[in-house]
Amino acid sequence: MSDTSSEVRRWIRPCTVIWLVLMALTLVTLGIGKLGLSGTGVVAFIMTTTFIKGQMVADYFMGLKQVRWSFRIITLLYMVIVCGLILVAYMVGLNG
């Protein structure tokens, strides 16, 4: 029983930190939006933070960090492909 408890706590603590990090990153994104910033660097920055946010949710909240790679890689690939292609689309738009 105590084994379970300590294990649960090992999972909760990083989740709490991540919750706060996610909130902070969201506020940063909002700030960028309020300022109406645009450009390659800004878009790349936002997509990178979005990727990190998504991975945090998948790995920690969903708990996929405790699961074998075969499953973890699905969400990882998903985030890479979706964020990557969105970035590509924006680059096309900026240059075009």
């Binding site: 506020l27 994104t29 909002l30 936002i46 933070t49 998948a58 909240f61 699961v67 699905i74 979706v82």
Partner: protein
Amino acid sequence: MTHTANEKAALPPGDLAIWFFIYAELLVFGILFLLYAFARSNNVELFNSSQDLVDRTSGAANTLVLITSSYFVVRAVAAIREGKVQLCSRWLLATIGMGGVFVVIKLVEFHAKFSAGISLSTNTFFTYYLSMTAFHFMHVLLGMVILAAVYLKNRKGGYSAAEHRGVETGASYWHMVDLVWIILFPLVYVMR
């Protein structure tokens, strides 16, 4: 949940069937996101000017709400893993409550758009904006229904430290709803 820290589980938490559903949903949203992004690249001006009409603050507020709710449901799963049924119920209720807050903020936002005469057919941006956010909105509602079912079962003592797969299943679905919004928010509300 008997695996230790260095021994990885073979399958993700919750019933594997919900993961089929989660992957299918992620796929749908993923394709929608990419369609949006590429439609935008053909029509940057229109998208940028229309984007000025959406309410970034409420979008961000909803992101905060969903992230928080996602964290709450993590606590609910943690509670039931330790066999704390009461505590789990409370966290579940808090999660559903946050879902309710999301719904209210979103409804206000939709109302403002519809009052301004904006509809699915206004222009390409609003077609995407409304169909993606409305579609996600319905997933929030579905997630709340699922969590409510989990909550009711838990209150009747249906879950324990040994058997709580239903809680994990509902939580996994809810995280998916959160994950999708985390991409949706910067994409539709912020990036230009």
